[in-house]
Subunit: 395 residues, 4 copies
Amino acid sequence: MKLWDKGVSVDKAVEQFTVGNDYELDKHLVKHDCRASIAHARMLKKMGVLSKEELRKTEAGLQEILELSAKGKFAILPEDEDCHTAIENFLTKKYGEVGKKIHTCRSRNDQVLTALRLYEKEALSDTKKLLCDFQKQLGETATKNSTVPLPGYTHMQKAMPTTVGVWLGSFVHAAADDVLFLNAVAKMIDQNPLGSAASFGVPVFAVDKKMTAKEMGFSRVMENPLHAQMSRGKFEMTIASLLTQIMLDMNHLATDLMLFSMQEFGFVSLPVEFCTGSSIMPQKKNPDVLELARAKYHVVVGEEMKIKGIVGNLMSGYNRDMQLTKEPLMNAFEITKFTLSIMTPVVSGMTVNVEKCKKAMTPELYATEEAYKLVKGDLPFREAYRLVGEKYGGS
Amino acid sequence: MKLWDKGVSVDKAVEQFTVGNDYELDKHLVKHDCRASIAHARMLKKMGVLSKEELRKTEAGLQEILELSAKGKFAILPEDEDCHTAIENFLTKKYGEVGKKIHTCRSRNDQVLTALRLYEKEALSDTKKLLCDFQKQLGETATKNSTVPLPGYTHMQKAMPTTVGVWLGSFVHAAADDVLFLNAVAKMIDQNPLGSAASFGVPVFAVDKKMTAKEMGFSRVMENPLHAQMSRGKFEMTIASLLTQIMLDMNHLATDLMLFSMQEFGFVSLPVEFCTGSSIMPQKKNPDVLELARAKYHVVVGEEMKIKGIVGNLMSGYNRDMQLTKEPLMNAFEITKFTLSIMTPVVSGMTVNVEKCKKAMTPELYATEEAYKLVKGDLPFREAYRLVGEKYGGS
Amino acid sequence: MKLWDKGVSVDKAVEQFTVGNDYELDKHLVKHDCRASIAHARMLKKMGVLSKEELRKTEAGLQEILELSAKGKFAILPEDEDCHTAIENFLTKKYGEVGKKIHTCRSRNDQVLTALRLYEKEALSDTKKLLCDFQKQLGETATKNSTVPLPGYTHMQKAMPTTVGVWLGSFVHAAADDVLFLNAVAKMIDQNPLGSAASFGVPVFAVDKKMTAKEMGFSRVMENPLHAQMSRGKFEMTIASLLTQIMLDMNHLATDLMLFSMQEFGFVSLPVEFCTGSSIMPQKKNPDVLELARAKYHVVVGEEMKIKGIVGNLMSGYNRDMQLTKEPLMNAFEITKFTLSIMTPVVSGMTVNVEKCKKAMTPELYATEEAYKLVKGDLPFREAYRLVGEKYGGS
Amino acid sequence: MKLWDKGVSVDKAVEQFTVGNDYELDKHLVKHDCRASIAHARMLKKMGVLSKEELRKTEAGLQEILELSAKGKFAILPEDEDCHTAIENFLTKKYGEVGKKIHTCRSRNDQVLTALRLYEKEALSDTKKLLCDFQKQLGETATKNSTVPLPGYTHMQKAMPTTVGVWLGSFVHAAADDVLFLNAVAKMIDQNPLGSAASFGVPVFAVDKKMTAKEMGFSRVMENPLHAQMSRGKFEMTIASLLTQIMLDMNHLATDLMLFSMQEFGFVSLPVEFCTGSSIMPQKKNPDVLELARAKYHVVVGEEMKIKGIVGNLMSGYNRDMQLTKEPLMNAFEITKFTLSIMTPVVSGMTVNVEKCKKAMTPELYATEEAYKLVKGDLPFREAYRLVGEKYGGS
């Protein structure tokens, strides 16, 4: 039974159109909704809406769901619509009245929002951990090869000498920028939206947002209920921007690695277990993992775009459109986390081919150095540049 | 067993990262791959690679898969990677040698491409049918209400009088533009890519692309194998543009319907079975279907963007990145078809509230008409405009 | 004086915010607006709104503007807002009454729309010509080098042998697909929107859309005025999709050329006049033109996205938002035309380094051929594949 | 003369294609480049490359340019390519040798990057100021109308009672989120890239990045030169994400204001000086400023997308593609700043129509309140919900 089912028969297709794959996505939200529901129930107890015994039952029920869910045994069926209804139905069925009371002083709108924010906080924390692991591994591989020479390219042309250490080290610094951004996003979203109800707060009852914030680990409270609701999609699009930023580093590293492992360069060799073969060409060893890491940057950008498109031109207050920001957000998180976790062993497993690197250090890479030595000998730079330029001809 | 499995143990995570959800998406491709494989097998027979008996067996096997698949009983497991391997494995297991021969003279690259193009041709045809149904229903509802007056708005302000017939009729014409575009896209992609192999054609054997084209119903052949491969993603992005164009009409109609069914307008009432309730507000009747139709335009735009991002900056020849264009394309098709199919009954079921429409025809809507009557009486337009403007209060 | 100026003082900033750079963009529209205005004036004459003498004066005035504009001497000032007002003001100032009458039976909305569609028709025709020139040049260079061998790459790894002829030829075929799409778009937009006025047609007077269509060279008429208005942005987004498709070919060709002209490949040399130097490195010869051609694909995608974002969630009838689709459209056209015109001489001027191409034809490129020879000798493909695979070292 | 001009005649079209409108955009960069060049010159003096007298001359020259530029009198011509060359040419022409020396120990790549980062720091600071002004004004208008009742809408349907104070207050909170994000971005980009040269640092000489950082007011130094170069585009895309976030608030406020000022609502009236008229309809008062503010959100999203597309799939080291991230970034800044500055007086000038707001407070808005009163009287929520739902029927 749907929460809003008041007897009108609703066409099956409408159900499928509106529910979409929420019932699948929501497996990510069950534990967060339980956590939020426990906080909410405790507040209802304090407010006198639930008795001590009712709270005990509610907590026991939610605890049971948490345990089932951890074992992958809490099913959300299409007819449940989403995890929130599945949870309420479970409680009502097994614990009676308390299931009917738990929804007092909240709306599905703020319930979803709260569970999502808890999910996001956890997913950001997971992402940060994976990003730091990746950064650490990069640092180790960079250090190990810090003095191996490498041609530096600009405009895809040999430019000046550099080292494998500088090259890989640049990604260590890039990851540090990402961590900084991640911390800021984590701080921005760390606000309790519970109590905003449908978008305009809870009438009659005085909800205690600070209490639920404390229970759930939010450091601030969203005082204005409409602000809370309109942060839906907006915070998500900014999280997606962060994930895009992280994925750009993956894209750049994958691009470099694919180029540098081409037969024509040979600077690095990829770990064989990260490559695949061809169905027609027996000799192939293809860097599929890297190609997909490169492409997934664009997938995350597309997810970000969905969110940015969906939330535009909407009037204040909840709009169902916002529901469709959930999937792109979750997809962006899953992709980013998976890509980080797979690029780390790529970096640890790759081999730097020192001889090939050395052989690639051809004379024109040192042209700027030559010019600068003339400058040191007191020629103005523009004249030294012209002199050396003539020597390397074609240029 | 993977096609490219030559003994190297491949990390489970790599498998999951590279396979992704292809094994799920490919349920859409099974029948198309079978059809293409039958065409391919017949050509192999003609070339002498398969004997008459081997062709019979192959066709029987593929027919069996087609029937299993139609009943939803042909499983593609994650360890199969995709439908193409699942099909080859099924043949080999049940029919022996022939399974090992069917892949002669093709690569998974052109095999996937061919199945995709057959899928696209069918999906375009389905979309066209749904679009024409929608257009027909719109035409009927427009005709039925052709003389009901309606305020015409510009800049979201009452502008000039119009009718429900003109308003809904505008979407009939819009759909006609879409059909024109759809036909062009269908024509553009109607080219047989089979025989392009990995990207560079088939060595040693002379494949007969015209024969397979005829078998599969393509009207032209892709002569250049690299052209065939590089059309991957490119044709898909243009199909996505078409779907975006169609979805824009859905977005606009949904936007109008939601506005005109607000209590403040009341021009139309939505069929109750397309609305849902609220978990907190007992009085609500929400146009969720329309909100989602509006939002899904942006989702399709996001899918289009993914494809456009993925295919940029790639060198010629197959790149694994291209695999990731499959999901956005299929998703865009599914969304568009579903939205069309649900908007048709919305249009047939909606009620035009004639009295409310009439009541909304306030005098300022006729200001231009007044001015034009003065013009007819020989006043230059700019002076008539000024006179009437003053009457309606400078606004 | 603004057309809508009825004495209210409008803040300078508002003017700048609303006018934007329309007065600059509109230099592209002057001739098209004049052409449309002549057609409109002739219809007004036929309707009796203009006398024969007034028509003569109007035509003389518009002809004068056409000539001034062709010489770059018809100025549109920020205070004119746009070319339409500049033209009307010019007529009124120099020819008196007729300037005040020309706006009868039309609105700025359909006036802009008509001029835009004429601009688009011309720009599409220009684009087609440039695309065909490019295609022709590609064909010539491909033919000249048709037998030069070239490694074919998949997954950025050497895969199978191909030729420069096949490689460049693939772009000839790609351009043919683009022409097909271009023709369809040209057909879709070839509809006369004049007479749709503000969005709801012209009251009192019966405008003759067929007459103006014939005068302006449109092959069809937009019967429904709201359809005409709502095609604004929609047709433009589809034109932008076409331009994106064309630019993708430029992006791919530039990507290939940059890679193949790296020192590590050396398959082609770029014409020196299309390269630039470095301010610090005296030896550099950078393929800036190609880098920019590659990047401009993404710029056009961004312009397309602007249009697709702007037109979403808008209610039927003109919305000022639509004005902002003009700049991205024009920018996309300018970029595409310029890129086509500069890539043509790049293709004609590039040198194929036959020796380097030959030297790159290493044995593993022929592995598939070897396997296929075994197949011809009656080994099932999968076994031949395994045998040859072992020879080339499992890789 | 171009910096890289070494005698090769470069086709005029190539110049136009590569320079684009940099020479126009760079008027925003002149002062920042001068500031960076002064810092650089002081370091060169400390390193002994410039004498005391040469430094004096250089500083005088740069000071002169700063003053000319402040008066709008420092011209950058197309043949200069960009402001950096224009500045160097000016110095060389007027001060001789020193102009030729200033480019020692830097490349145009890090020179542009440094000027851009200084520009961005200033533009972020300007944006923050405008955002805070906007927030302050919103707060005042919210407070002034804090108790005026307003229907709260969800799903574009009347939902629950709220107030003008809550509605406008929600944007005050939203702006606070933006400030938080802005501060984080400002911190992320506050790193000195000067000394990274072409992408691989400066050979022979030991540049003092800390000294120039201090001179220019950067709080940190980019130690890794390749990190510095690859932050180009990446930092810019994240700045664009921030601007998109801010513009979303503008979009939402504009959407609300346009809806609430429709005749059918009448909750607010817009200041007349922010509206425009129609060329055909004498009675119109159109909210063009708001329509454009709404649309400009999508324009900024498009600019963001350009950057995100351009930087993908690029190998490490400077690529000319990066140049094309400059215009979208600057455009996004200009749009955001202008929109903020025009929305502030819209908020201060708008009128809340108290009577119309009160009249709109129809009974169904209080349905949830009724249900909650029953809950307080001890009915479980789901039963109270059903009872009240029946009363309001249609729901």
